[in-house]
C-alpha cells in the first residue's frame, strides 16, 4: 500500500490522534489524491457524522464531494453502486451497524456480485464504512457486530482495523481497491489514541501484535485490545500468549494464522458477535482443519452469547472479557505441562 501523508499529515505524525481522526485523515488524503472519491451518508455533511469521523469534509471539499443523503440505506448503497458504475469511488457510511440491514439486498445482490456478473466489466470500487460492536452503552440496534453477514457473502472484502495506524492505512488501501470493501470500524475504539504510522502490513495480511509461545489468541477489531490485555494478565498465571490481529477477514491470512497456531499448538478465537454461525466458527474450523496435527487442545471460542445484543446495563456480561478469555486459555488441556 502506497499511501502517502500530505504535509500536514507528516507534521502531525509525532502527535497522537484518535482512531476517528485517523479515519478522517484517510478520507481527506484520499479525497485530495483522487477527485473521484466522494463521501456520503446520513449526517456526514455539515454535522461531520455522529462520531465526527467526517468532520470538516464538506467544509473543505464542498457539498459535491461530501454530502448528506436522505435517510435510506438501500438508497445510499444503490446510489453508491450507480456512481461507481460511472467512475466514482464512493465511500459511504452506515450510521450504526444494524442500520446497514436495510441495505442488505443491495450489498448481497449487487455490490458483491457486479464484477462477477459482468465478467469484470463493471468493478465497484465502493467502500462501506460500518461502525460496529458494543461497549459504548448504546441502546438496542446500536451495538451489533454484523461482520459475519458480509464475511459469508462472496465478492466482498471485509476488513477491520484495531489500531490508529491501521485505521488510516487500511482505509486508504480500501479506497484504492477496485473491489467493494466493507470497512468495519470498532466504534468503541474511536476515541483511542496513538501516533500514526503508515508502515503497517498489506491490507490482506494479519499482524502478530504480541509474540508468545504457549497459545495463540486470534482477534480482530474491538477484541484485539482485550486479547492484548489478557496476554498481559496471563503472564501472572504462567502463560506466554501470542496475539494475532486478523485485520482482514476476507481475504483471510491463513499463512500467518496457521504459522502461529502451529508454533503454539493452542488457539482461542475471540469476537463480540454471537458465537453460533459467527466469524469465529470459520476461523476455528479452518484452524482445526489446517493445524490438526499441531493442536494440543481443541480450538476454543470466546464470543458474545447467542442472544440479541443486550441493553447497556448488561453488556459487560455479554462481551468477551479478560477473565473469560483466561478461563478459555486455562481450559486448553495443559495436562502435559
Amino acid at each position: 500500500m502506497t499511501a502517502t501523508l500530505d504535509a500536514a499529515g507528516r507534521a502531525a505524525q509525532n502527535t497522537e490522534i484518535s482512531l476517528a481522526q485517523a479515519v478522517n485523515r484517510a478520507l481527506r488524503d484520499a479525497m485530495t489524491a483522487d477527485e473521484k472519491v466522494v463521501v456520503f451518508g446520513e449526517d456526514v455533511g455539515v454535522l461531520g457524522g455522529v462520531f465526527r469521523v467526517t468532520d470538516g469534509l464538506t467544509r473543505d471539499f464542498g457539498e459535491q464531494r461530501c454530502f448528506d443523503t436522505p435517510l435510506a440505506e438501500a438508497g445510499i448503497m444503490g446510489t453508491a453502486i450507480g456512481m461507481a458504475m460511472y467512475g466514482y469511488r464512493p465511500v459511504v457510511e452506515m450510521q450504526f451497524d444494524a442500520f446497514s440491514y436495510p441495505a442488505f439486498e443491495q450489498i448481497a445482490s449487487h455490490l458483491a456480485k457486479m464484477r462477477n456478473r459482468t465478467r469484470g466489466a463493471l468493478p465497484l470500487p465502493v467502500v462501506v464504512r460500518v461502525p460496529y460492536g458494543g461497549g459504548i452503552g448504546g441502546v438496542e440496534h446500536h451495538s451489533d457486530s454484523s461482520e459475519g453477514y458480509f464475511v459469508a457473502t462472496p465478492g466482498l472484502h471485509v476488513v477491520t482495523p484495531a489500531t490508529v495506524s491501521d485505521a488510516y492505512t487500511m482505509l486508504r488501501a480500501a479506497i484504492e481497491s477496485d473491489d467493494p470493501v466493507i470497512f468495519m470500524e470498532p466504534k468503541r475504539l474511536y476515541w483511542s489514541k496513538d501516533v500514526l504510522s503508515t508502515t503497517g502490513p498489506e491490507i490482506g495480511r494479519a499482524a502478530i501484535r504480541r509474540q508468545g509461545t504457549d497459545a495463540t489468541l486470534i482477534a480482530y477489531g474491538p477484541t484485539v485490545s482485550t486479547a492484548l490485555e489478557t496476554a498481559e494478565a496471563a503472564r501472572a498465571e504462567g502463560y506466554d500468549l501470542e496475539v494475532v490481529d486478523l485485520r482482514s477477514i476476507v481475504p483471510f491470512d491463513d499463512e500467518t494464522v496457521c504459522a502461529s497456531v502451529r508454533k503454539t499448538g493452542r488457539a482461542v478465537v475471540i469476537h463480540e458477535a454471537a458465537g453460533f454461525g459467527g466469524t469465529g466458527a470459520e476461523i476455528a474450523a479452518r484452524v482445526s482443519e489446517r493445524c490438526f496435527h499441531w493442536l494440543e487442545a481443541p480450538v476454543r471460542r470466546v464470543t458474545g452469547f447467542d442472544i440479541p445484543y443486550p441493553p447497556p446495563k448488561l453488556e459487560r456480561h455479554h462481551l468477551p472479557s479478560v477473565d473469560r478469555i483466561l478461563d478459555a486459555v486455562a481450559s486448553l488441556q495443559w495436562e502435559d505441562r
Binding site: 449526517d43 455539515v46 435517510l71 440496534h141 452469547f305 447467542d306 456480561h317
Partner: protein, 382 residues
Amino acid sequence: MTVLATPDKTGSGFPLGFDTILDPSPLQYLDEHGALSGVLRDDAPELAPDRLLATWRAMVVGRRFDVQATTMVRQGRLAVYPSSYGQEACEIGAMLALRPTDWFFPTYRDCVSMVTRGIDPVEALTLLRGDWHCGYDPQRWRTAPQCTPLATQAPHAAGLAHAARLAGDDTVALAFCGDGGTSEGDFHEALNFAAVYQAPAIFFVQNNQYAISVPLAKQTHAAALAHKAVGYGMAGVRVDGNDVIAVQHVVGEAAARARAGGGPTLIEAVTYRMQAHTNADDASRYRNDSEVEYWKPRDPLARLEAYLKACGLLTDAVVAEADQAAEALADDLRTRLGEEPEVDHRDLFRHVYARPTPQLLEQAAGLQAELDAAELDAEAGR
C-alpha cells in the same frame, strides 16, 4: 364542514372519496396567538371544555416529564434522551384522539405519548435508561416497544391493522414516524400495504424539520410529506403540529374513517424539534439559534393556554392541580430514576426463545459459574 376536504379541483379524476389536500399549507384551528382560526364546528369534540382541559393537563404533565428526563440524562441517570419538547401537540393530541383499545407504535422520541397513554413513566424510560429494551407490557398498553430502526414500525402497524380488520374488531393502529423516516423503503411498503388492504391504520409523521442534522429540504423535494398519500390512493392531510386541537381533530377523523372501513390516512404534522436530536447531539453545528427563536412563540402549550385563558377555563384550582400532578411526576421520576435498578443477568437468556436451546442453557450455565466464581473470589478478598 369536513376537515379532510375533497380537493376543490373537481374533475381531477381521483377516485371518489379521495381526500388528500394538495394545498401544502397546514390545517390550523388555533393560531399562534391562541385564537381560534379556521372553520371548526362548535360541537367538535375537541372544543368541549372538559376535553380542552384534559388535553391541557396532559400537556402540562407531558412537558414536565420531558424536562425532567432531559435533566436526568444530564445527571447520567439515563443512557440517552431524545426530547420531544415542543412536539407535545402531536405526542398528546394523537394519543387523546385514540381509544385505549387502539394500538400505537412509538419511536424513541415518543415517551411523552406513552406517558399520556398511562404507561408508568419509569417503565417508559426503561429503554433509554439502558435497563432493558422495553419496560412496559405492550399487550396491556396496546403500545408496541419503542422502535429505533427508522420506519420499520410502519409495516407492523399496517399488519396489525389488517389483522384487526380480519378479526372483525374496530381497533385502529397508529404509527408515529419522523420526517426522516419517510425516506425509508419500509415507510413506502407500509403505506402501500395499508392502502391495498384498506387497513385501519394511521401513519402520523411528526415533521419536526430535522433528521438529526439533515433538514427537510434534503429529505424530500416534495412540497409536503402529506403529498405522498396521493401515490397510495389514500387520504392525506397536513396539519399544524403545534395546534393540539387540529391534531386531535384530524386523528379523530382518520380513526373514525378507518373504523368505518374507509382505509388508512397519512397525517403530516408540521412541528419543530426545539432541542438537539438527543443530549449527545450538538445542534449548533447545523442550525441557527434564530430558527429556534422563530419557533418559540409557536409553542403548542402556550398557545392552548392562551386560548383557555381567553375562554376563562384556566381557573387557579385547575392550574394548581395540574402543576401539582406535574411536580409529583417529576419528583417520582427523580426518586425512582435515582435508584440503581436490579437488572438480572439471567434475563439475557430467558426470552430469546420460548424454550431456551441447549446451546443457550450451556451458555447461561457458563455465565453463572463465572459470576459465582467471581463472587467467591470477592468474598475471599481476592
